[in-house]
């Protein structure tokens, strides 16, 4: 990296731009949509009263990173909004209102109401009910009363039986903005749903963490007002629209982390490895996997020595981090921190094996819009628990050839990186024409060639409609879809959409074949039905045959009548 001569604190105000997946498509102009005449309208309410001036956004329901809204509208005096010129497609409708709280319509992360709209359709009555969010604010100071600046605050909701759950407010703002204290030590969380909460700062040494470059001291997890035991934390009862002020946290003395030092050496020659980056990760006791890893940009010195500071008690493994195109791979060197430093750790680095091969995509046939080889990202991992994690995708040359190195002995597994173009799936891996169902066996110092990684491109789709026998879909219904290849237990590596309020859904990018579609339908029983369970749940399955470039229609019929035993 070039070094810049910096003389003053402009360095502090220089911004490392956030990595942004920013609009890569030209703006949606009216002329481009070929005069779509679809429209979506509804009403925004806050506490059941029409809300003026709330911006409503329509975004694509694709799993690709959201770029910009397809349409935007602001609610009028009575809370009504209308979007015109909406093309056919699958969307999510959400209000941009960070201070307000919406019922989460889509459990699996994406906020908003699912809407499937066909060309020219006028979808009405899409109402968005919001509540004023609550506010929790306070100040974080140390034992001497000095503010803690840019310290991260964590919010937990507390359930009956005292269980706590970490809350990340999904209000379209980067979390570090709200959950981070300012120069006065003040934080302000807003748009918080009503509930019971506890607030904390500091490092949870009970959970996995691999702190790096954060200094030799740290604050243990401390809850409002000033306690380190969760049971003694003051619970904040937050009603809708209320503001809990003075939720201060006073920290005690910082604790000292420990240091870990050792050497990185070549496994064969024993010679020190100079100038290599390194890192460490928290070991999961049960699985042996690294739960969380951190990499430092420091490098081993002329004697191959390295050092990690500020490590909290726990079980870890250290490793060297060769460059992504390096022939080397690193062992993991486990260590445990109790109440003292660890020295003399030896991290061994080996020359690994290589795999040379080609990538092809089946089913493309010169179709417009088909993915190109350049859009594929896949990784090769050893799965060995003794080896340090690698995390860069394999680079594919324009002709589809690739070479990946630094592989340890063992079974090399291939997997696709996400996000990936829609319809792309890793079908199989061949070696010299023979399918390697369980991955490729890699020896020591081998160069394996003749590998073919076959991707398939599916353009089949399932267009479905959920129907309730003898009636409409109740407003409070929750519907969850899952899909898998018929005859297997393997669910597809794709996020299935949620049917919208009219029961419509579209699953696309499917390879041809037979699929089993499952619908979990849940709704509240009508009141005044004595003896009936409060939640009615139904499972509906359908088998669907999918072919490329075609939509298979399917109806999922739900029978809400009570089961007769």
């Amino acid at each position: 990296m070039f070094s810049l001569a910096r003389t003053t604190g402009l360095a502090a105000t220089m911004i490392i731009a956030l990595a942004a997946t920013v609009p890569a498509h030209p703006p949606l102009q009216a002329s481009q949509t070929k005069e779509s005449t679809g429209s979506i309208s509804g009403r925004v309410t806050i506490g059941d009263v029409g809300a003026r001036g709330v911006t409503v956004l329509l975004v694509s329901a694709d799993n690709a990173p959201i770029e910009r809204p397809v349409a935007k509208s602001t609610s009028d005096q009575d809370g009504h909004f209308q979007m015109k010129g909406v093309p056919a497609g699958s969307y999510l409708l959400q209000a941009f209102a960070p201070a307000l709280v919406a019922a989460s319509d889509n459990v699996f992360g994406r906020q908003g109401k699912a809407i499937n709209i066909i060309e020219g359709e006028a979808v009405e009555g899409v109402d968005i009910a919001l509540r004023t969010g609550g506010v929790i604010t306070g100040r974080v100071t140390d034992a001497e009363g000095q503010p803690l600046i840019q310290e991260n605050v964590r919010l937990f909701s507390v359930h009956e039986q005292g269980r706590k759950q970490a809350i990340y407010l999904s209000n379209n703002l980067p979390s570090n903005s709200m959950f981070s204290t300012d120069d006065r030590g003040v934080y302000r969380l807003f748009g918080v749903p009503p509930g019971r909460y506890i607030v904390s700062v500091g490092v949870d040494t009970n959970g996995p963490n691999a702190r790096i470059n954060t200094g030799n001291t740290y604050y243990p997890l401390t809850y409002h007002p000033d306690v380190t035991e969760e049971g003694k934390a003051t619970v904040i009862e937050l009603a809708s629209g209320s503001e809990a002020t003075g939720v201060d946290i006073v920290l005690g003395r910082p604790s000292t982390g420990y240091s870990v030092s050792g050497r990185i050496v070549d496994a064969v020659t024993g010679k020190p490895v100079v100038g290599m980056m390194y890192g460490y990760g928290a070991l999961d006791a049960q699985s042996g996997r690294l739960n969380v890893s951190s990499f430092t940009s420091s490098t081993s010195n002329a004697r191959g020595e390295f050092r990690l500071d500020g490590v909290t008690p726990g079980s870890y493994a250290a490793f060297a981090s060769p460059a992504s195109d390096s022939e080397m791979y690193s062992d993991r060197a486990p260590f445990t921190i109790g109440d003292g430093d660890v020295a003399g750790l030896v991290v061994k680095v080996h020359v690994g094996s290589s795999i040379i091969g080609n990538v092809i995509i089946e089913g493309v046939d010169g179709q417009p819009g088909a993915p190109r080889l350049s859009e594929i990202r896949f990784g090769v991992s050893s799965g060995s628990l003794n080896v340090a994690p690698r995390n860069s995708p394999v680079r594919i040359a324009p002709d589809g050839s690739f070479r990946t190195t630094g592989l340890p002995r063992g079974i090399a597994g291939f997997s696709m990186y996400y996000p990936a173009p829609k319809g792309l799936a890793l079908l199989r891996v061949e070696r010299d024409g023979v399918e390697q169902k369980n991955g490729i066996e890699v020896g020591s110092g081998e160069e394996i060639s003749g590998v073919k990684v076959v991707f398939a491109y599916g353009t089949g789709a399932i267009r479905g409609q959920v129907k309730v026998e003898g009636g409409d879909i109740p407003g409070a219904a929750m519907m969850y879809l899952s899909i898998r290849r018929a005859g297997t237990n393997q669910s597809l590596n794709m996020r299935t959409p949620t049917p919208d309020s009219r029961g419509r859904f579209l699953i696309d990018g499917l390879l041809p074949g037979e699929y089993e579609l499952s619908l979990l339908f849940q709704t509240r029983a009508a009141p005044a039905v004595a003896g009936a369970p409060p939640i009615i749940s139904r499972d509906v399955k359908q088998t669907v045959t999918v072919t490329n470039r075609a939509e298979s229609q399917v109806t999922m019929l739900v029978d809400l009548k009570p089961n007769d035993r």
Partner: protein, 587 residues
């Protein structure tokens, strides 16, 4: 965890947009006698706040500037002390990061240090700006991104292309930006400077500047360290901004498809970054778009990594004018980047005088700088940037990833006052060395230039002193610079012997690493236009300016004979205002 490459992107963009703050021309030495000769492998130091109180658990970055340099992150202890040990010989840039604080160096202080040095670093509490953003109905604007853009530094000099930290308005529309350097800012709601992966309601809006303005009419906020400007309220206009979109073509390299390309939108008049976009390949093209752009004149440029190599690519500045509607179909072409490689040698020939009996610096302790020198730009506030690297042990260095442009190299940023730059050459057409100091080195797209040679000689002299007024007690004008002009006829065109330095606020100046010989000394006032820039283009770079300087210097006839290793202290240089025109007054 995916390692982000974008920090490298912005580092280079930052470099190419005047982030490096170097006063060109003179070595920024501590001004003290050289430290002990022992080059122990540690740099130690202490970080304190403005009142001298030690700052504990603060991150200190010690980074070598060469290709194989060591980079270290260390933390200060309870007493604010830090040690970066086991450092091979070399020059290391030291920076500090502490939330809410700004590292402030005195104008003469150097960023680079060598093992054996002990450094005192002062962190000042950053300033803060706070206020409320409301719309025309008086309702709070919630969740809009706020930025403070530094327009002038604490000394009143323009800073181009600088931007500040972004936070968001809360549920009351209240924002607070903090950790800011002293200086003058404009404050903006809804800027796209940082790009945005968040889906917000403000994506198509043109940004609104404090108090409720466009950039041209924005109110300014001046801050001191530790100060606070409150009530900086903004009435958000929410006017629709236009879109600029297009695509990027890269003819140079085939394997770029997996790499991200970053695109910047800049104001044409002052190089401020308006927006950034990072594009991934999507099918056959790389499309980009900026939204919420107001009417005005802009440039769009794109860059692609890998950066620390010969394989990156960059585009020219593509002018874009926005006049009341979207601009589509902007084509950006990436051209390969070039490099300039060379070797620096310390001439240890016995002809030279050794100034002190101490070991010569190692070649890897020197610094070589490169700056763009856009002489063909019509805009006099040229895009002047500076990057420093240290050579390898062999003296070899290479600047990679250079867009096509004219460059000036230099090696006067020496940490050792005993040395001066004797010659800078580049391999000529017949491979004989040709002087490279009087003209820039032109790099064409993808061109690899080798054979740059720096020769440093021993026996350098130095002059420290003050500028004084003609009449005792009279005041001196601002914007003074001191020039050393070679008086010997056979050095008349030796660009390397034209040395200039800024006069500090206490009227002191420092000219170091000067080749022995006969010179004229001249104190001149910089024209107002020039002085507003953070980096002043040395007079020596222009033949006509050199001639003009010689005439002026000869006329004022203040001569000095510098012997090898001579250290002149307390020199009093009289400033004589030019005869024509009114007497300049101190403002």
């Amino acid at each position: 965890m995916r390692r982000r490459i974008f920090t490298a992107t912005t580092m280079f963009f930052a470099a190419s947009l005047n982030f490096a703050l170097m006063t060109f021309g003179q070595s920024n030495n501590q001004g003290e006698p050289q430290k002990s000769s022992a080059r122990a492998g540690s740099i130690t130091g202490r970080v304190v706040n403005e009142s001298g109180k030690p700052m504990r658990n603060v991150r200190v970055f010690v980074g070598g500037s060469g290709r194989q340099s060591v980079r270290r992150t260390v933390n200060t202890d309870e007493a604010g002390r830090f040690v970066a040990d086991d450092l091979p010989r070399g020059s290391y840039a030291i920076t500090v990061q502490a939330s809410g604080y700004v590292l402030v160096r005195d104008p003469g202080d150097t960023v680079h240090h060598r093992p054996g040095d002990s450094v005192n670093l002062v962190l000042k509490k950053g300033a803060a700006i706070a206020g409320t953003v409301t719309n025309s109905d008086g309702d709070p604007v919630v969740g809009v991104q706020m930025s403070a853009i530094l327009v002038r530094d604490a000394q009143g000099r323009s800073v181009f292309g600088s931007y500040g930290s972004g936070r968001y308005t809360d549920d009351r529309g209240v924002y607070r930006l903090f950790g800011l350097s002293a200086g003058t800012y404009v404050v903006v709601a809804g800027s796209k400077i940082l790009g945005s992966s968040m889906l917000t309601a403000y994506g198509d809006d043109a940004p609104t500047y404090y108090p409720s303005s466009t950039r041209d009419t924005a109110g300014e906020v001046t801050l001191q360290y530790g100060g606070e400007a409150t009530g900086i309220d903004i009435r958000y206009r929410g006017e629709h901004g236009y879109a600029i979109s297009g695509s990027i073509a890269d003819g140079s390299m085939s394997d770029w498809l997996n790499t991200s390309v970053s695109v910047q939108l800049m104001q044409a008049s002052n190089d401020t970054v308006e927006g950034q976009a990072f594009t991934q390949p999507r099918g056959t093209e790389r499309a980009f778009a900026f939204y919420g752009v107001t009417d005005g004149d802009y440039y769009v440029t794109a860059r692609r990594g890998p950066y620390q190599s010969d394989d990156g690519a960059a585009s020219k500045r593509i002018p874009v004018k926005v006049r009341g509607r979207d601009v589509t179909g902007v084509g950006i072409s990436l051209a390969p980047l070039g490099s300039i490689a060379g070797r620096l040698t310390l001439d240890l020939a016995t002809k030279d005088v050794k100034c002190e009996t101490k070991p010569a610096p190692a070649v890897e302790e020197t610094l070589v700088s490169i700056s763009t020198d856009d002489t063909d730009s019509s805009d006099p506030s040229s895009r002047f940037a500076s990057i420093l690297i240290t050579p390898d042990k062999t003296g070899d260095f290479v600047f990679q990833g250079l867009p096509a442009a004219s460059y000036r190299l230099d090696s006067r940023m020496l940490l050792d006052e005993a040395w001066y730059l004797r010659a800078m050459t580049v391999a000529g057409p017949t491979n004989t060395p040709v002087d490279a100091s009087s003209r820039g080195i032109v790099v064409r797209p993808g061109q690899r230039i080798n054979g740059v040679r720096f020769v440093l000689g021993q026996g350098a002299a130095s002059i420290r002193g003050r500028v004084v007024a003609e009449k005792e007690g009279a005041s001196l004008p601002d914007r003074l610079r001191v020039h050393l002009v070679p008086a010997e006829p056979n050095s008349a065109e030796d660009t390397l012997r034209f040395i200039e330095a800024e006069v500090q606020s206490d009227n002191s100046f420092r000219l170091v690493n000067v080749a022995p010989g006969r010179y004229w000394l001249l104190a001149r006032q910089l024209p107002e236009e020039e002085s507003k820039k953070r980096l002043v283009r040395p007079q020596a770079w222009n033949a006509a300016a050199r001639a003009g300087l010689r005439r002026e210097a000869a006329a004022s006839n203040v001569a000095i004979d510098l012997k090898p290793c001579q250290r002149v202290a307390d020199y009093q240089l009289r400033y004589t205002p030019p005869k024509e025109g009114p007497q300049p007054k101190r403002t």
